[in-house]
């Protein structure tokens, strides 16, 4: 018995501030059609898939920011989304896509939605919880800021897993054809708490869009900065490391779709879109820094061995020892040593 399906990460090359949304959606649709021709049933587009990664720019006012946001709460009915989802529905592809959300009461979130081709509607929404970067511009001279904390609130929806219907080609070992999924956005994937909250809901497939910048010491704070190429290699390795390890530690698949290449002429995004198994193996990964469809056939029942043995949470977790994880936000170091043993 197995629940086999083909999934795809739809990587996007650069989306510049000068590109129009209809042009960008043309690219989405080309990727969707290519995926459909390969038998894909579920696809993931990156974080902020309709625009450039605009958090690199310091806007003088909210009007300048506003053109990058989607203002319609019923996103599926907006001009752009409706065209994209009509295409996905026609192709029979479920789609996860990221966008900048402006709510009717003026709040702004870095969000994603899951469109089901079976029900022909959005069945789940996620708002990025771990907002990186700064409120004030970086003063590193690169011209690329990382102002996510200025523009986005931390997501208020938590980590709520959902079932997508009719995902597997065949019923699984327990007779069902649905799959338990969860969405993450970019920096969230570096926070094991986020994955574990989904793991504790039996998640089988994590969908993660991202826009990960290349080397910028003011943002990354890595130590050995002199060689940008070496630093870029490390950033790519750390991206895959966290996706692989957290997929393994929660025994789930992950589809991670990024943007790639030099956006707006100043800011390189790393790409590296990939599909990872519950064993932590990379099943497929991007080979370009442009628009690219990364496909893998997966069997959702491969989540079962890990969930029932080495990562059987009910058998092994000791929650009374984990209280620091929710009782404190930041670091509390052990008391300083007294002078007699401190060696000072």
């Amino acid at each position: 018995m197995s629940r086999i399906l083909k999934v795809a990460a739809l990587q996007l090359g650069p989306v510049h501030a000068t590109d129009t949304k209809p042009e960008v959606i043309d690219r989405h649709i080309r990727l969707l059609r290519s995926a459909a021709s390969q038998g894909v049933r579920l696809a993931v587009l990156p974080e902020l898939a309709f625009t450039t990664f605009f958090a690199r720019h310091l806007f003088p006012d909210d009007v300048s920011l506003s053109s990058y946001l989607e203002h319609d709460l019923e996103v599926a009915k907006s001009e752009f989304f409706s065209r994209l989802f009509r295409e996905a529905g026609d192709l029979g592809i479920d789609l996860c896509v990221g966008y900048a959300e402006r709510t009717p009461d003026g709040r702004t979130f870095n969000s994603s939605v899951y469109f089901s081709a079976t029900t022909n509607e959005i069945i789940a929404k996620y708002r990025k919880v771990h907002i990186p970067g700064t409120r004030e511009p970086l003063k590193d001279g690169s011209g690329a800021h990382h102002l996510e904390k200025r523009y986005f609130e931390p997501g208020d929806l938590g980590f709520e897993a959902f079932r997508a219907p009719n995902v597997g080609e065949h019923p699984g070992s327990d007779g069902r054809k649905d799959a338990i999924m969860g969405m993450l956005i970019c920096n969230d994937r570096r926070w094991p708490e986020a994955w574990r909250c989904y793991g504790l809901q039996g998640v089988e497939l994590i969908l993660c869009g991202y826009n990960t910048p290349g080397y910028n010491p003011a943002f990354w704070g890595t130590t050995d900065s002199p060689d940008p190429e070496k630093a870029e290699t490390r950033i790519m390795a750390q991206h895959k490391l966290v996706v692989q390890a957290n997929s393994y530690m929660n025994s789930c698949f992950t589809v991670a779709a990024g943007k790639a290449g030099l956006e707006d002429g100043v800011h390189r995004l790393i790409g590296g879109s990939c599909i990872v198994s519950p064993d932590g193996d990379v099943l497929a990964e991007a080979v370009t820094e442009g628009d690219e469809v990364i496909v893998a056939e997966i069997d959702l029942d491969d989540c079962i061995p890990g969930k029932s043995k080495i990562f059987n949470f009910g058998e092994h977790r000791q929650v009374d020892k984990y209280s620091r994880i929710v009782d404190q936000v930041g670091v509390r170091e052990p008391p300083a040593l007294v002078a007699s043993t401190a060696g000072t």
Copy 2:
């Protein structure tokens, strides 16, 4: 400014049930002396460093089990420990070592202690929290069980970081020469909760002993079992994956010391001892399946960039979203879909 020191993982080849403890401690001391000759100031011996990994055997009674346990609560005063710690003290090496602990009231833990060469005493103790394996023997015909749940209670001391004095050769950027450390044992390293509890105490160095079995489908529950060699490669990769990712996500160094090779003629342990940086890089790793000293020079101040930027917990963590981590032990799946959308 930097806090540079040389650390070592002291990997042990097989320790058979027929080996005596004095013989095993002779091996420990040879490794310690070799480390000292390379300038090492802190060393880690594996989990259950004095005996074979006896949880592979089903003992008929407590008397048979008892010979594998250390009964003295004041372990530093016991015959074996005192010899080992005297040597470490004479060499000026701090030492973390794992052993099976029988308490005066008859409880049994899989424990480790940290001996400080500066204070000439044990300054910290840890009891393994995540006990893997089964209470009943595995029926896979391999002859190697994994009865840790039968013999050990989950540790009751939690994850308490501690400061070891006089560890760095030079004072760090804040003028101190101590280091914040935490101990893990074997399976603990696959549980991100354990690392995070230490990360939230500003841990700079994780000391992790282990005895990780090679491929055994009844224990691991991996899916593609036909090729044992491929499965072994994966087990090694997953060991490094979790050490690298969790070191990176908590911006700390890790020294991981394992046992290696075929113990008791039936049970292969993977070895793969390694030293990992806060960037998730493997700085040094074992090249044999025998007794081996793995050395790296590290700068504890390299923990600072990650802790102050990308993993600045106080800036980025959203603890009100993490409640599932402590509120539930096992999995709670989302409700089943109603028939109209379930596609059955």
